[in-house]
């Protein structure tokens, strides 16, 4: 992977991904508005943490979103993830950006912005269907 990874949201998913990236010795920054959320990170997490709102331009700046190669918006709010993804794209033309969406109907909002979306619901559905077909 190229460059810094910025993980927006340090819930179970965000913390899990940030810890795994750090384990792979990627430069990683994780952002959450609750400081306590960082306790979900592995003890061995060697990246940075930034406390703040992921839709705040100053916070994204502090997390070096402009220099990032990968930006993940994985908070528990679809709306926040959409806005963070769009903000990130306006700040950084080249980074790979991936959003987590519960409601894939909102994926239309990032169409044409070179932003990828994944839905845990969609992934689970696919997995279950594949398993029961065997």
């Amino acid at each position: 992977m190229n460059g810094l990874a910025v993980v927006c949201g340090c819930g179970r998913l965000g913390a899990g991904i940030a810890s795994a990236l750090s384990e792979r010795e990627e430069d990683t920054v994780v952002i959450d508005h609750h400081k306590d959320a960082f306790s979900r990170l592995d003890l061995s997490y060697a990246g940075l943490t930034v406390t703040g709102d992921v839709t705040d331009l100053d916070v994204l700046d502090e997390a070096h979103v402009k220099q990032a190669g990968l930006i993940l918006a994985v908070t528990d709010s679809d709306n926040v993830n959409v806005m963070t993804g769009q903000l990130a794209r306006t700040l950084n033309k080249n980074a790979r950006i991936i959003l987590r969406l519960q409601d894939l109907e909102k994926a239309c909002l990032v169409e044409g912005m070179d932003i990828e979306t994944i839905s845990p619901f969609g992934l689970a559905k696919q997995d279950i269907l594949e398993r029961i077909q065997k």
Binding site: L57, N79, V82, T84, T90, C108
Partner: protein
């Protein structure tokens, strides 16, 4: 035809706005999550739909396709943004207006297709500035399509302009003293007209020169 408006967000703001717009004769639809808030707002006579206004199927149910205006007054910027983008992209709402918390986000919102962005802190700062100027101003009327202001200014004892003639007064470019009310009598001033405490001036000022003009007059 009546103009149709969608409002969603904080219940108190949504209610007040709904009432104001209905008084102007618009058709108002409000979307609210909470049952009690919905009932309270329904009493104003607005159409109320219950649900999350940032979900496409809720907007569908509200029947907002082709509405003239959608206004987002959520406290979270992301909720306003998502709702208004959906309203515009999927439901062809003509104009969208959003409240934002941070003035720095204004260009971004506009870039995402929100037509008008209102930032409470900017509005309040503007009002405060106007209020501070208003203490020395009796009247301020925008003229010439907002390119100039017509100011009514009283000359008080101790003002920099008191006892100076118009020629001696270093008024900035684009500022014209149009008339002077002296002891209740209207005078058209010449360059040797002397200003005195108690005079009321009508001044035409190009946009942006208001503060500088007041500074020159008041000191």
């Amino acid at each position: 035809m009546k103009r149709a408006v969608l409002i969603a967000g904080k219940p108190n703001k949504a209610k007040a706005l709904a009432q104001a717009l209905m008084e102007k004769g618009m058709d108002v639809c409000v979307i609210q999550q909470n049952k009690q808030d919905s009932k309270r707002i329904a009493k104003t006579g607005a159409k109320v739909i219950r649900g999350d206004a940032t979900k496409p199927y809720v907007l569908q149910e509200a029947g907002i396709a082709g509405y003239d205006l959608a206004v987002g007054v959520f406290s979270r910027d992301s909720d306003n943004l998502v709702m208004l983008e959906l309203a515009k992209k999927q439901f062809q709402v003509k104009r969208t207006v959003s409240l934002v918390s941070d003035p720095k986000l204004e260009p971004f919102f506009k870039g995402m297709g929100v037509d008008k962005v209102v930032c409470a802190s900017t509005v309040i700062t503007g009002l405060l500035e106007q209020q501070m100027m208003a203490d020395t101003l009796n009247q301020m009327v925008p003229v010439a399509h907002g390119q100039a202001e017509l100011l009514e200014i009283s000359v008080l004892e101790g003002d920099k302009a008191a006892n100076l003639t118009l020629e001696e007064l270093p008024l900035p470019q684009g500022v014209l003293v149009a008339s002077i009310l002296k002891n209740g009598k209207l005078e058209v001033p010449g360059k040797d007209t002397r200003l005195q405490a108690g005079d009321e001036l009508l001044v035409i000022v190009s946009k942006g020169m208001e503060e500088k003009t007041l500074q020159e007059l008041k000191g």
